[in-house]
Symmetry: C2
Subunit: 345 residues, 2 copies
């Protein structure tokens, strides 16, 4: 098994990526090979600075990288040979892959838009998922898979159904949830709620063989109302970012309280480690990178602000998905459901 990792993606690249890859290599102990794609000199310098060895890590060199600010469209033009593009191309066995080795999965903490564009250019799509998207596992208890998290701002009802199908396979296979509950994010519980798209999505989901638990209001998401929540990417992106913002806001309010005097400071010392555990439990990176669902090869998006530990988790998560052949399971499920695309679009 070989995992390809984008050395140049993310706010803390290549340093955090190099650290993460080294950690993962040590933990994997030969179970999977790792390949770093990026500027070999910058990679070497980062390894020196972090005092890690890159023994056993292969490097595919490119001095081209795509940044968060650049247009994802460049993935088709001037950035065709950036580290992210190469990493994606290395997943296939066809003529696009001129890099000497085929990877089983790809991990990048780089621009989400570019990863999405690159995947549509260089990676195949699973028959049955019209619009692949990046699913995010929100670290509630139990965790909740959010799909779509932003790649598809406008969605048709059938996309939500397809996302629910592959999302269910993911939760079943990777998280071991026997019969994952699918919820439709909506403004109220009644079937008629929301906009036209919601009403039709409700109809499709209710008529499917999925374990559909109905409309879920946003306030119920943190409380285990469902295992997968589907919505269009615009709304999903708002959910993702607001969850982040509210978490930060509440922790900030707490910090204000604890900084408000000697007694408060003492109070903090008493529960410091429990607070730390709580913050840690809210860190979604422990589950690995966000999986790109609907592609026919495993691709994972690590958070842009990933540190070494988060990169390591993303790599180990990718290994797990390859071991469990999550994409294979999705392919089987979609075939079995006979999801068909007589091109209606």
């Amino acid at each position: 098994m070989r995992i390809i990792v984008d050395a140049m993606g993310g706010d803390n690249a290549p340093g955090a990526v190099v650290e993460g890859v080294a950690m993962a290599r040590d933990e994997l102990a030969g179970k999977a090979s790792l390949t770093l794609v990026g500027d070999k000199d910058k990679i070497a310098a980062a390894a020196n600075e972090a005092v890690v060895s890159l023994d056993g890590i292969d490097i595919v060199h490119t001095d081209i990288a795509i940044s968060m600010e650049e247009s994802p469209m460049l993935m088709a033009k001037s950035k065709k040979e950036c580290s992210m593009a190469i990493g994606l191309k290395m997943l296939t066995e066809n003529r696009r892959n001129t890099y000497g080795v085929v990877g089983d999965a790809f991990v990048s903490a780089g621009s989400t838009g570019a990863l999405h564009m690159g995947s549509s250019l260089f990676v195949g799509r699973l028959a049955g998922v019209r619009r692949p998207g990046i699913a995010v596992l929100m670290p509630f208890t139990p965790p909740v898979l959010l799909m779509d998290s932003g790649a598809n701002p406008t969605a048709k009802p059938e996309y939500l159904y397809q996302w629910a199908v592959v999302g269910s396979v993911y939760m079943r296979t990777v998280l071991g949830i026997e019969n994952p509950r699918v919820g439709l994010l909506n403004n109220g519980t009644e079937e008629c709620k929301g906009n036209e798209m919601s009403v039709e999505a409700h109809r499709l989901l209710a008529g499917s063989s999925l374990n559909f638990v109905g409309n879920i209001e946003a306030r119920e998401i943190p409380f285990g109302a469902c295992d997968i929540i589907v919505c269009d990417g615009f709304t999903g992106n708002v959910v993702l970012k607001l969850t982040e913002g509210m978490g930060k806001f509440m922790l900030g309010k707490l910090k204000d309280i604890y900084s408000s005097g000697a007694l408060a400071g003492l109070s903090y010392m008493m529960i410091k480690s429990k607070l730390h555990d709580m913050k840690h439990s809210l860190d979604s990176s422990e589950y690995g990178g966000a999986p790109f669902l609907g592609l026919d090869r495993p691709v994972f998006k690590a958070h842009g602000s990933s540190d070494g530990r988060a990169i390591r988790s993303a790599i180990l998560g990718a290994v797990r998905c390859v071991e469990l052949d999550v994409v294979g399971r999705m392919r089987e499920e979609l075939d079995a459901l006979g999801i068909d695309f007589a091109d209606k679009e």
Copy 2:
């Protein structure tokens, strides 16, 4: 000045409403008259139970009420004479108002959908706002006005612009913010982000005389990025409910920590009152009821779970809006902008 209050709306009606009205009457000390609309026997019984006097409070009797579960469409049919419908009708001076008195504002904690339907049936619309909606003041520091909070799941770009105009008047007049910053809720900061509706809304807002600060990502909302945030009602409702859910979730996590042992319990005692203050600061009802923007008469929606104190705040908020003639200020602003409705729909 006279404020009409729906005695039968909300989870805790009529008890909480009766308490709230009594509190408000005492604080207003004659500055405004209050009229309760609802079942006079239930109102009297609630007053007895709460040990409050209803001296000086007028009562308009009806034994019909509309519940949270009933279809808002009933406001046009079997519930035409429910307490909410009557309260709305009492705002006008025309033949619909057969109740002997004209109110300056209406407050209800009842069904939002019914209030919205009733307002479209019984209350006029400000020329210049195609689709009135309920704006919610989110209790961040500083507070942020969210519009639309759910009444309009699908919205056209021009609605967002109109909501920004009346929202700005509200924040200027009621909260004293000189030049309220308007943000467009979106998936990223670039102009091209989001769906077609967002892109066009961005164009309209950017080309207007409003203090438009551009796209705002959901994670920035709690941190003072803008004073008013506009979006379609579907997304707005998700923002509203997720904020609520995340607040509750984080406070719950904290409670778990504080219940985890003697030391944690001691820690809690030390900062108990500061925690209480924090919870209190997150309670939006301190600002009054949610104003219905775009109507030509002041209508306020108090939270369904309002207790007496929240009802009292909603009434005092309504008094303030009437004193400041917020609707008049909106009318002037819309006139000045010459917002026109050559019926394009």
